[in-house]
Amino acid sequence: MLRASLLAALLLMPLATAGRAQGTSAGTPVSYTVVDDAIPRPLTASPGDASRGRAIVANRSVGLCLLCHSGPIPEERFQGTLAPSLGGAGTRWSVAQLRLRIVDGSRLNPDTIMPPYYRTTGLVRVARAFEGKTILTAEQIEDVVAYLATLKEQ
């Protein structure tokens, strides 16, 4: 019993210690163009890598996705219930649509609680270690999008 609760306690640690040493992008984000509800052009010259994307999504202090979402990543036992499952995301959305949802979901739903993964403006009291940085780099966004596109099953 106690071990289980200790385990649960350890789980939040990545959230609490995420303030340190994440490889986020320095510099200004690359510009992109939104067409309807999508970003048709990739943010990087080279294509994203789905297996790297899976690792980012699974990592609680890099992607943070599983804090809120569940998804077909069975080795991560503790997944969130704040957001829809990522299963089937690649069926529901095109690659271009997925890209905008990760880059800045607030352009589609101003009330969304999903963090804007590629935005540095309009944010309040960002911790100094993260100021001016996006949550994910352009490369990481492309990796995550490539992974989500493979999720065809619900």
């Binding site: 609760s5 959230l15 809120c68 944010l123 960002v126 940085k133």
Partner: protein, 278 residues
């Protein structure tokens, strides 16, 4: 030869005693009322859906909190009881020279409050610091220091089971609104607000952890993750760091404003310090 008083108290190196588990079992049960009884006795109407973080914990942790011989926070309460009686500062006065323990009943359940000759609220730790400065002429205790937390825990323990009862003081209103504004404002790189998690998504799982409603019922708490007692401020800082917001400095009025808001929001809920949390 005179044996110095502080020397005779040196066994109070808390972390060591905590590792020595049998010591826990030997702790005298000083106070009888359990939090479970307080919960049952509290007059909560059926429409009141507020839950203490206590109710979101597993049975093992609830039991640890309720059992004074198992609750690690009680070691700090004991230490606080000794500090309470120990003269300090240039005035060489102890808390006990000015107050009886009985006077402390209900105090923690109504802080933050505005002290005499002031127009802004301070929290319980702030009150202890004020007494040290003005009545004991002693130096400030460091935030989250063992002595400050122990004194706070000892005082807070005297309110266990009592309903949270913020003072009926109109001057608190602007601070409460400021606290509420912070609570509702999105901040940090993750662009989240306290309200998004603790109002809109309370009860859901953030990764494996049930999001509590953020009622400050048990502070200071013994948190297993910290392996230590910690204040409400420390808890708030953890949430700020979690959303990658810049934590306020320890002395910031923003925390006190948040505390005023949170205590008002928890008005009437039973006070349960020292709480245990995962």
């Amino acid at each position: 030869m005179k044996v110095s008083r502080s020397k005779s108290q040196s066994p109070l190196t808390l972390p060591e005693r905590m590792r020595w588990r049998p010591a826990l079992a030997l702790l005298p049960v000083v106070f009888a009322a359990s939090f479970a009884m307080a919960q049952a006795g509290a007059d909560k109407s059926a429409s009141d859906t507020r839950r203490s973080g206590y109710q979101d914990m597993g049975a093992a942790l609830q039991k640890m909190q309720d059992d004074d011989t198992a609750n690690p926070g009680m070691l700090y309460v004991q230490l606080g009881e000794q500090l309470w009686a120990k003269p300090a500062g240039a005035a060489s006065k102890a808390c006990a020279d000015c107050h009886s323990v009985a006077d402390m009943k209900g105090v923690a359940a109504r802080y933050p409050a505005i002290p005499e000759n002031s127009d802004r609220p301070i929290d319980l730790e702030g009150r202890i610091q004020l007494c040290r400065a003005s009545h004991q002429q002693a130096e400030r205790l460091a935030p989250e220091s063992r002595d400050l937390l122990s004194l706070a825990a000892f005082v807070a323990r005297q309110s266990r089971g009592l309903p949270i009862a913020p003072p009926d003081d109109a001057r608190l209103a602007p601070f409460r609104s400021e606290g509420e504004a912070i609570y509702r404002r999105r901040q940090g790189q993750l662009n989240l607000s306290c309200a998004i998690c603790h109002d809109d998504n309370a009860g859901k799982k953030l990764a494996g952890v049930t999001i509590p409603q953020a009622h400050p019922t048990g502070y200071p708490i013994y948190r297993l993750e910290w392996q230590a007692l910690g204040s409400l401020k420390r808890r708030l800082r953890n949430c700020l760091v979690g959303i990658r917001a810049e934590a306020y400095p320890y002395e910031a009025v923003d925390y006190v404003a948040l505390e005023v808001f949170l205590m008002g929001r928890a008005k009437g809920m039973p006070f349960e310090a020292p709480g245990v949390r995962p």
